[in-house]
């Protein structure tokens, strides 16, 4: 589904990512783990097109996307739940969802998708006309995910799901994501600090440290590996 081949990425004059390669399989949940300043968000922003890599290639379903403008990448079937949600604060929940279905293709199925999204996150139905900026953290996260689903993407990118969320809500949301993956067969690429919960959810995982991939493997194996246990589970345990 997604192939990242040896990309170098700079923010200003500083190099953040060094020869990063990874892949996200069709229908699977792939996780990217790493501590705070490892470069995870930069990587996601590069994949989504907000930043362009200096070197290397990124392909979505075989099509090269690293030189395309962001909105074109979205049209090709990628959707992102950005770090910090990035909802449109002065627009209602409903309008935010509508904007998720902005692309021509998505507009045709907009009404159906809104129904579907309200079934997945029933609480949003009650908050339909509320301004997105006034919702709680957990509700905002739900809106962000729902909004990203509106365009019926082939690949969903999620950046830092757990930021600022109470553990119980985090649990609920990650279960919902697992469900979405299973029922729709949607490929998901999730970037997280909360290692334990993410590896429980994921099929495959990568570890990013200081802008370099330092490990990868099946999620279950990673959970049990010594390195991960020592390095992360002390910090990231729920």
């Amino acid at each position: 589904m997604l192939e990242v081949e040896q990309i170098d990425v700079y923010r200003g004059d500083t190099q953040i990512l060094w020869s990063v390669s990874l892949a996200a399989e069709d229908g699977k949940i792939t996780a990217l783990l790493g501590s705070n300043a490892a470069g995870k968000t930069t990587l996601l922003m590069t994949i989504s097109g907000l930043i362009k890599p200096w070197r290397g290639r990124i392909c979505l379903e075989g099509q090269q996307i690293d030189k395309q403008p962001v909105h074109k990448i979205v049209e090709l079937g990628m959707s992102m739940v950005p770090e910090g949600r990035r909802l449109f604060p002065e627009m209602s929940v409903f309008e935010n969802l509508e904007l998720g279905a902005f692309t021509r293709k998505a507009r045709e199925t907009k009404d159906r998708m809104i129904e579907e999204v309200f079934e997945i996150f029933p609480i949003l139905k009650t908050r339909k006309v509320q301004m997105a900026g006034t919702l709680s953290g957990g509700e905002q996260q739900m809106v962000a995910i729902a909004r990203a689903l509106m365009s019926q993407p082939k690949l969903l990118l999620i950046d830092e799901l757990s930021l600022g969320l109470a553990p119980l809500i985090m649990q609920h949301i990650s279960e919902t994501i697992k469900q979405i993956n299973m029922t729709k067969g949607l490929a998901i690429f999730i970037v997280e600090q909360n290692v334990f919960m993410t590896l429980e959810m994921a099929d495959y995982g990568y570890i990013l440290e200081n802008g370099r991939i330092v490990g990868e493997g099946e999620a279950k194996k990673l959970l049990q590996s010594e390195e991960v246990k020592n390095a992360y589970l002390g910090i990231g345990e729920v």
Partner: protein, 282 residues
């Protein structure tokens, strides 16, 4: 006194029309388009020539003028302002003002070159027609048309911004540009269309100016001054507030001119401007 208020309302409606394009562009794209006044001037001259060459009633020519200004605005945005898009906000505002200032210079002097500095006005057959509503209360017909146009513009803009996908995408990108991109919105094209739209709005104001007042090549700056005062009064982006501020300015000006005389009319606006800034800065 009621008569003065009526004239003030008519003037205010025009001020609102003059300011709305400037306000929207700054609110959404953070471009302070100093050349906005010149767009108004072009609109006025377009109405003038259409009236004199084709005998086209000015208010009927509004759609055509809108198209002309839309094209001009789009071309100028594509060629000039879009190049400033990537700059950080402070630098973007500064440079867009400089470019706008230079553009005003170029456009106004081109106008002098082609059309001379003569003052023009459009005087359709119904100029000066007045409705006597009450004893002592006269409503100029043209003034009513102006208020009508202003209301139509407010209403249409409101509909566009809240009911259409385009309008929503504009509001969204104003609030969070990256997130807008992630929705599949082509932000650059949206900005282009929106800028062109605001130029068209300036064109409408220009037509009104040509009929209700007069146009000459350097008149743009004077209208820009009004638009700036309203911008500061109203904040930017909220349509209703812009027009309300326009009405307020129009009425206050009218009333003070009655008491202090027309000589100091511009000082009124300037004082309001300074007072609003003082309030904002504390």
């Amino acid at each position: 006194m009621a008569q003065i208020v009526v004239y003030g309302i008519i003037t205010g409606a025009f001020y609102g029309l003059a300011a709305i394009g400037l306000s929207l562009v700054f609110g959404v794209m953070r471009h302070m388009n100093i050349a906005h006044g010149s767009f108004l001037m072009i609109g006025g001259f377009a109405a003038y020539w259409l009236f004199h060459l084709l005998k086209l009633d000015p208010f009927v020519s509004i759609p055509l003028v809108m198209v002309i200004l839309f094209a001009i605005g789009a071309a100028l945005y594509k060629g000039l302002f879009s190049r400033l898009d990537k700059l950080p906000e402070g630098l973007k505002i500064n440079n867009s003002m400089l470019v706008g200032f230079g553009l005003t210079w170029v456009i106004d002097n081109l106008a002098i070159l082609f059309w001379t500095s003569d003052v023009r006005a459009v005087t359709p057959s119904y100029t000066g027609k007045v409705w006597h509503v009450l004893p002592g209360l006269r409503l100029p017909v043209i003034g009513l048309v102006v208020i009508g146009i202003a209301s139509l513009v407010i209403f249409s803009l409101y509909l566009i911004l809240t009911r259409t996908y385009f309008g929503k995408s504009v509001r969204a990108t104003a609030q969070d540009r990256d997130a807008g991109n992630l929705m599949g919105i082509n932000v650059e094209r949206t900005y282009l269309i929106f800028f062109a739209l605001s130029s068209a709005l300036a064109g409408i104001a220009g037509v009104v100016a040509a009929v209700n007042y007069s146009v000459y090549p350097t008149v743009g700056f004077e209208w820009l001054l009004k638009a700036i005062i309203i911008l500061v009064l109203a904040g930017f982006g909220k349509i209703g507030q812009v027009f309300a501020a326009g009405l307020l300015l129009g009425i206050i000006e009218g009333v003070s001119v009655y008491f202090v005389g027309a000589t100091y009319r511009e000082v009124v606006g300037l004082v309001i401007f300074i007072l609003v800034l003082l309030r904002r800065s504390t």
